[in-house]
Symmetry: C2
Subunit: 146 residues, 2 copies
Amino acid sequence: MQESVDLGPEQCTLLLGAGITGRVALSSPDGPHIVPVNYSVVGEAVIMRTSPYSVLGTYGRGSMLAFEVDWFDHERWRGWSVVVRGRANVVTDPLELDRIRTTWDPQPWAAGARNLYLRLHWSEISGRQIGVGWDPVETLPVRRAV
Amino acid sequence: MQESVDLGPEQCTLLLGAGITGRVALSSPDGPHIVPVNYSVVGEAVIMRTSPYSVLGTYGRGSMLAFEVDWFDHERWRGWSVVVRGRANVVTDPLELDRIRTTWDPQPWAAGARNLYLRLHWSEISGRQIGVGWDPVETLPVRRAV
């Protein structure tokens, strides 16, 4: 068993900002869904691109969402995770879209039109580290040039 | 951009059965939550251990849940994900608990009492591969001796 400690908001923001893929959870009339997505962080918001007809595009707009990134080392029973929660809105303001595109346009890997920009402005951010004596920031596989 | 293909149920089951950590999504009165968990697969069900007082223990029992595992290669824009959905129930039958423990007892890494066994018997299983010409099974970092 490993000790588990809460991460502070600054460390959570750093880990969240360095990621590329995460998972978004949403509630729909037939229960929760979980969808892996590419994302970027602009200000205190997670930006995702999707199609208006996807599960995320249909039930995600104007709704509360939860978004998660994590890293686990199965050999050493170590890991960290960061979760943000908040309401998501469709970004339509051209100035805001410009800001997103110049900061970091989230690039969907899969082909297909994903012209709906969802912005999850978080009202909660929390994170947890399992196993102590090491720095979660050192696990980041890819650093973004910000 | 990469081509995206659906994975068949057999491949989904194989990938799901080889994993150790995943994320479970649940709906609560204040919106969806997403929780990283250790898990095991017994029959056509995902088994998770949690505390009765956790978010998962409180809102997960008797509810629809979605559970996800994935793998991504950020360098090559490749990845796969598998999602199952279904209703979760608390396992209380001693014979069933014995079966779970002898098959593979999900081991929470973090310290703390997690004596509630939740079983997500899936009614849907689906998966997706992004990028083609490679086999998702080759990406499995850890094989279970089943």
